[in-house]
């Protein structure tokens, strides 16, 4: 990459002034350093704002994740990057190109695994890959060579000549991933790549994505699974209600937003007993920096779970269950996006 330079004038012109600044976004990143460069990126559907002025960069070779509850705006963001949804406001460049002007050029270097798999139900497994290769201007011979190789890669060789519909969810997902690779993309967009898959299928997909990353393919994915984010992402942003609320590596986020350990206390609650959470928290006061009362347990955020549990015992608390665990990305997520379902 060349030295940091000013973005081209054309890009500056349409960059909206935006107040938010996310600590993890390198201030000097430019559209030319980043595979994806977004500043004040906004998506509106009529009067509804689905993505509200987000800033992020994805560097070449990186695995970047969007984490966020339902409706946070992850898919809307991915679709703008994939150039299948016009940008409402702000700046977005992919490979240094603008979606509105160079959509076809961007797409020719992009692999896309959409949230809802858009397989061609009228075609067989192999034909799905062949025709996709043709859409990318591959010769039939080259399309076939790659298709055979990719079916091997996602372990679907035996199903080559089957129709798509009877495939299991996991197989369909793998087929969509294979299809996204037919043009040997340098950037892969994956919208919830493993939602609905069983553990075996998820691990297979993770393994394949990891191998792609090893080969230098840049990954940009969304997920609801914290373990997936921890496994795959070098860096991620948490989105909530159309905005980015945090950014960093999984490790940084845990350090920043939760304690090293979390102590989980369960108390027996007798039939008909009124809510005593206020009372409980009162008793725990001063033991740790932060508590959270869930319907079935109390979470105590602390640097040393054992010590805090002992202190609670000394205060006369008698929990029926005690669990000390490490602070996780899930704690970060729930802290940032709230415990209740936002719909």
């Amino acid at each position: 990459m060349g030295p940091p330079s000013e973005p081209p004038a054309a890009l500056v012109r349409c960059t909206r002034a935006h107040g938010q600044y996310h600590p993890g976004v390198p201030a000097n990143a430019t559209p030319l350093d980043s595979l994806i460069y977004a500043r004040g990126l906004t998506k509106r559907f009529g009067s509804f704002t689905a993505v509200d002025g987000v800033d992020f960069d994805v560097a070449p070779g990186e695995a970047f994740g969007f984490l966020g509850p339902n409706g946070a705006g992850k898919t809307s963001t991915m679709r703008m990057i994939g150039t299948v949804s016009p940008v409402s406001a702000g700046t977005l460049t992919v490979f240094g190109l603008e979606p509105a002007h160079d959509g076809a050029r961007i797409r020719s270097r992009l692999g896309v695994v959409p949230q809802a798999d858009t397989l061609d139900r009228d075609l067989s497994v192999l034909e799905n890959l062949l025709i996709y290769g043709r859409y990318f201007d591959l010769s039939w011979g080259e399309a076939r060579r790659r298709a055979v190789e990719l079916l091997e890669f996602v372990q679907l060789t035996e199903r080559s000549n089957d129709q798509v519909e009877p495939l299991s969810g996991g197989m369909k997902r793998r087929l969509v991933i294979a299809r996204a690779l037919i043009n040997e993309p340098s950037l892969l967009l994956l919208d919830e790549p493993t939602t609905g898959l069983d553990p075996q299928a998820r691990h297979l997909v993770w393994d394949r994505l990891y191998r792609l990353k090893q080969r230098g393919v840049t990954l940009c994915l969304t997920t609801h699974y914290m373990d997936e984010a921890e496994q795959l992402c070098d860096r991620l942003v948490v989105m909530d209600k159309a905005r980015i609320v945090a950014e960093g590596s999984p490790r940084q986020l845990i350090e920043r937003y939760v304690t090293r350990e979390v102590l989980e206390l369960r108390f027996r609650r007798d039939e008909g007993e009124t809510d005593d959470s206020a009372h409980l928290v009162g008793q725990l006061e001063g033991l740790a920096e932060r508590f959270e009362q869930l319907p079935d347990r109390t979470l105590v955020y602390t640097s040393d779970g054992e010590a805090t549990a002992a202190a609670a015992f000394e205060r006369g608390l008698r929990p029926t269950g005690v669990l000390v665990r490490r602070g996780s990305l899930e704690d970060v997520f729930l802290r940032l996006t709230g415990r209740s379902l936002v719909e």
């Binding site: 858009t118 397989l119 009228d122 062949l130 025709i131 043709r134 591959l138």
Partner: protein, 269 residues
């Protein structure tokens, strides 16, 4: 390794990808394609020869008198081109757009929406050309039998003319389909197609109508198609055939432009 690129011009090549996709689908059910082949022939036999036996001959615009079968055959050819185009661009296109969601996958590739629209029109035309050629072959064979359904060498132009008719209706039909919300809406399309088929000078000369009504019928696209093809097969061209061609080409091209616009509204939210 570098992708093997097919040399330009992509603007002409890319639409053919949609044709390839459809060929992959239909190579397993090729017989379905042939069903559309028989309808115009059934009409030809029942109307051309059945009714023709009662009617005798019909006078063309320039005063020449031709047998009823010769009169009706070009009209059936035009109708067949229309029906083929409409069939492919209404139900089939709608199914792919709204239910099979074929294009949701295509838009993530370098293909543009204009490529998709042009490709599907091309496919409709290719499919229609099978019916047109089949029909022409049958009436050609009958011609050898002394029936002379094509009474002029100009009749050879009936094939490209039928393609022009197909293009006009494919463009318009596809544009209309992008506004359709549910299958039942296609009943309205039939409500436009059926009367055109019956009243556009297909089965009798429009001189049977009062003058005002004649003008209305002359403005319908199928009338223009029938006029064009009949002028060629009977060897009685007039200056109006230029209007016919322009009218139908404009209809197809405007339709295509509308389709590209509408698809971007429907698919690129």
């Amino acid at each position: 390794m570098a992708a093997l690129r097919i040399s330009p011009p992509l603007v002409l090549i890319r639409p053919t990808r949609m044709v390839e996709r459809n060929l992959l689908v239909y190579r397993r059910s090729f017989m379905v394609i042939f069903s559309g082949f028989f309808e115009p022939l059934f009409y030809l036999f029942s109307m051309g020869f059945g009714v023709g036996a009662l009617v005798g001959s019909v006078q063309l615009g320039d005063g020449t008198s031709v047998s009823y079968a010769v009169f009706v055959a070009p009209a059936l050819l035009a109708s067949s081109a229309m029906n083929g185009a409409i069939y492919e661009t209404s139900n089939n296109f709608f199914g792919k757009l709204k239910y099979a969601k074929i294009y949701d996958a295509v838009i993530a590739t370098p293909m543009s929406l204009a490529d998709v629209a042009r490709g599907e029109i091309l496919w409709a035309l290719l499919r229609g050309s099978l019916y047109v050629l089949g029909f022409l072959a049958v009436i050609g064979v009958l011609g050898i039998g002394g029936l002379g359904l094509i009474s002029s060498p100009m009749g050879l132009l009936a094939f490209p003319a039928a393609m022009v008719v197909g293009y006009g209706f494919a463009g318009a039909g596809m544009a209309a389909t992008t506004f359709v919300r549910k299958w039942q809406d296609f009943d309205f399309l039939q409500l436009a197609i059926m009367p055109m088929f019956l009243f556009s000078g297909t089965f009798y000369p429009i001189s049977a109508y009062p003058a005002a009504l004649q003008v209305v019928v002359e403005c319908t696209p199928l009338y223009r198609g029938v006029h064009l093809i009949r002028a060629l097969t009977t060897g009685t061209p007039d200056v109006w055939i230029a209007i016919d061609v322009l009218y139908l080409l404009a209809m197809g091209t405007i339709g295509l432009a509308i389709v590209s616009k509408r698809l971007s509204k429907l698919l690129l939210a």
